[in-house]
């Protein structure tokens, strides 16, 4: 299991939620994980129903079995100043840079520098050890930029290493790249069983592979249960109206005669079944397309009541089941 878990995905697929659930899932049995946010949206704070996260690693949740989840919202400007301080002991020069707008420039405009700082900070957390030499965090989970930007984001250190051909930035970029391209890292894609997210996932996986970055798993989010089997769906589409009306009536939903309460339910229910059938068919196609990518796939259930903290723990439990199954398979 790689120690840096990067979670990407198309907008609207629940990337942040899945990243948080993964951090919870990996924290079980006394492990400690760090959940890292890089886009400054405070999505993690909203998810865990806490106030906005400062630029500081802070415990936000306890997982079953005594594990802990820490969270960090990385701020590029603060990360740069830290970094300058750490490597160059730049007290006043750092402040002068800030005054001139150089820090702003570096973190917003200088190509990729922002991304270098963000990935750099995450890699630092992965490598950090305590006094006894043990890793401070067992896993670091990153809520990463969306699928369309992920390869550029992770590969930016290569780009910067090319731009800055020597010097400390070059060295730093190289060091970060060594972590990102090693088996220590796994990049997962969150998708839905819909055409565009699946297509973007396929494109994203191809891009990552081309950049020789380690591809992890496909995490299919919001999977709805298939409530009617194929046969029933065909039957529903056929001439079973009267029988269905009678069954509804028998279940206590009113009269089956024409215009009765039960009879009036038949059309809307059959219409919903037809939509369901169409959706099931589309989902089947998308599952096939995902299978074509050739990665392991985890399916996560749709939370009918929307997402709250309890839902997050349920998603974490679902992920844990998948992880456990993988581990058992690995052992066998």
């Amino acid at each position: 299991m790689s120690r840096l878990q990067v979670v990407s995905g198309k907008g609207g697929t629940g990337k942040t939620t899945v990243a948080a659930a993964l951090a919870l899932a990996l924290a079980t049995e006394g492990k400690r994980t760090l959940l890292v946010e890089v886009e400054g949206r405070q999505g993690i704070a909203q998810l865990f129903e806490t106030e906005a996260l400062p630029y500081e690693e802070r415990k936000i949740a306890v997982a079953s079995g005594g594990g802990e989840v820490y969270a960090l919202a990385i701020d590029a400007e603060r990360a740069l100043l830290d970094y300058l301080q750490m490597f160059y002991k730049l007290g006043s020069a750092g402040r002068a840079l800030k005054k001139l707008g150089a820090i702003d420039f570096a973190t917003t405009i200088a190509p990729g520098l922002r991304d270098v700082l963000l990935t750099g900070k995450a890699c630092e957390a992965v490598r950090r050890r305590d006094k006894k030499g043990a890793y401070v965090y067992d896993y670091v989970v990153m809520d990463a930029p969306p699928t369309g930007r992920i390869t550029k984001f992770l590969n930016v250190n290569d780009e910067v290493a090319g731009l800055a051909k020597f010097g400390p930035i070059h060295n730093q970029a190289q060091a970060v790249m060594r972590v990102l391209k090693s088996p220590e890292t796994a990049v997962h894609f969150v998708t839905l069983l819909e055409e565009m997210p699946v297509q973007e996932t396929a494109d994203g996986v191809a891009e990552l592979r081309a950049a020789e970055l380690p591809v992890g798993k496909v995490l299919v989010n919001m999977v709805r249960p298939q409530l009617l089997d194929e046969e029933a769906l065909r039957a529903a589409a056929g001439e079973r109206r009267t029988a269905v009306a009678q069954a509804l009536s028998a279940a206590g939903l009113g009269g089956a005669r024409r215009g009765g309460h039960a009879e009036r339910l038949v059309d809307p229910l059959l219409e919903q079944a037809a939509e369901h059938a169409q959706r099931v068919e589309l989902e089947r196609e998308q599952r096939e397309a995902l299978a074509g990518i050739g990665l392991d796939t985890y399916e996560l259930p749709m939370l009918g009541e929307g997402l709250d903290l309890a839902g997050l723990y349920r998603l974490a439990a679902a992920l844990r089941t998948h992880l456990g199954a993988d581990r058992a398979q690995g052992a066998a």
């Binding site: 609207g12 840079l97 800055a164 219409e271 009918g304």
Partner: protein, 455 residues
């Protein structure tokens, strides 16, 4: 809110919203008004912005406008269906549009790097432009770090507007995580390219490199020294050369960013905030509504995509599950008493949501339903105890579980919507019913257009 109003809202979900407290957004007058020159579709990622923009373009054109749609990152098949899958950064006329009303549709997909190159070429002498385009620093700047796409989308909008060939421009906005980025990025980029720091960077290059350093004060030389140490001398030189070459254009960037900003505030511009009935998307939408107000940018309304409806809202999720349970038991043990389904105990259908939070309206309906049946006892009893074949029982139970799931979705969507409406009751809303699949042809876009305008 009374339960009656709630119910009215439920029943109206898949047609026209009937709630009279929320103003309804009618897109047709907006599209038809010759004073509407720009429509900006914004919202968080994954809510159907691009599809909405394309559908509005098709509808406007077929209603007689000369329209152009600027899309940022369309799905491949949608782009193909509009004939804009080739990236050449110019609008193409879309075939297959009904031009009977005198309109036409052009469409294009933004090429960010190309747009940036064009800005450079248009604003610098040829040799200087070449120096810029070949600079490694420029190449990675233009190929896309956060902000360039937003800036270039607005730049392209400005260009299209300046050409004045179209009487309506529909713009999609970049798939930013935060819908607000696209308002901020142009200003940010403009002010940086124009700013103090760039001038400092440029100073040594301007006065002849290292030799000129002694004219700068000590702090400054310490700073460039620091930068050189940090970035490596060669990167700093690349940046300096780039900045020197861009010198003539700096004022231009600022001016252009300001002009685009004013264009967005102009009376002919209308913003449509696009969202799906999900918590995050609507939260972003609420931020955007507030931000537009703060920036004095004209908001036309909210497009709420992927709204679910049901033809049988009178049957609550809870009651449907109870009935399904009842039928399921019949199927297995052929239980005689059909009316004794254990209420609320059927958790099998949806393990994630064992209990439905039955809302006021649904509860009321149930009571009413039971009462009305109470007046016709023969209805319930004569047919209620009838024999039901196993397969029909299973099928019907499945239909009921499906309905329960749908009602839960409806309830959830309504709650998220209510939250938005409570914050912004003044915002006009148009709802677009959820489609089972993606849209990738003109017929699909036309269909969305109909749904947008409730025709």
């Amino acid at each position: 809110m009374s339960s009656q109003e709630r119910r009215a809202r439920e029943t109206g979900l898949d047609t026209v919203p009937v709630l009279d407290t929320v103003p309804v957004l009618d897109v047709d007058p907006l599209l038809d008004d010759p004073a509407t020159r720009i429509i900006v579709c914004c919202g968080s990622g994954g809510v159907g912005k691009t599809t909405t923009a394309a559908a509005l373009g098709v509808r406007a054109a077929e209603r007689g406008r000369r329209a152009v749609v600027l899309t940022i990152d369309p799905a491949r098949r949608l782009a193909q269906s509009m004939g804009i899958d080739s990236l050449d950064n110019v609008p193409r006329r879309v075939k297959g549009i009904d031009e009977g009303a005198g309109g036409e549709l052009h469409a294009m997909m933004l090429d960010m790097k190309r747009t940036f190159d064009e800005v450079v070429e248009a604003n610098a002498a040829p040799d200087r432009a070449r120096a810029i385009l070949e600079n490694p620093f420029y190449q990675s700047l233009s190929a896309g770090f956060a902000g360039t796409q937003e800036y270039m989308a607005m730049e392209k909008l400005g260009q299209l507007r300046a050409r004045d060939e179209w009487d309506l421009i529909v713009v999609d906005t970049p798939p930013s995580r935060s819908a607000l980025d696209f308002l901020d990025a142009p200003k940010r980029l403009g002010s940086f390219l124009d700013g103090k720091f760039i001038r400092v960077l440029m100073a040594p290059a301007k006065v002849g490199g290292r030799a000129g350093m002694k004219f700068l004060n000590v702090g400054m030389s310490m700073m460039t020294g620091t930068l050189s140490k940090l970035m490596g001398g060669q990167l700093l030189r690349d940046v300096q050369t780039f900045v020197a070459a861009m010198d003539t254009m700096f004022g231009g960037f600022r001016t252009r960013a300001d002009a685009t900003y004013r264009l967005l505030q102009a009376p002919g511009t209308a913003f449509l905030v696009v969202a799906a009935p999900e918590r995050d998307a609507l939260r972003e939408a609420a931020y955007f509504v507030e931000r537009l107000a703060a920036e004095e940018m004209p908001l036309a309304g909210l497009v709420l995509n992927r709204v679910h409806g049901s033809g049988a809202p009178q049957l609550s999720a809870e009651r449907a599950l109870a009935a399904a349970e009842n039928l399921g038991q019949r199927g297995i043990v052929d239980q005689g008493d059909g009316n004794a389904g254990p209420r609320g105990s059927s958790t099998a259908a949806s393990p994630e949501t064992p209990r439905t939070t039955a809302r006021g309206g649904a509860e009321d309906t149930r009571t009413e339903d039971t009462q009305s049946e109470g007046t016709q006892p023969e209805d319930t009893h004569a047919e209620g105890d009838g024999e039901v074949a196993d397969d029909v029982a299973q099928l019907t139970a499945g239909l009921l579980r499906l309905h329960a799931e749908r009602m839960q979705v409806l309830a959830r969507e309504q709650r998220t919507r209510d939250r938005f409406t409570a914050l912004h009751p003044e915002v006009a809303v148009t709802e677009v019913a959820a489609l089972p699949g993606d849209v990738h042809d003109l017929a699909g876009l036309r269909d969305i257009g109909e749904r947008l305008s409730h025709r």
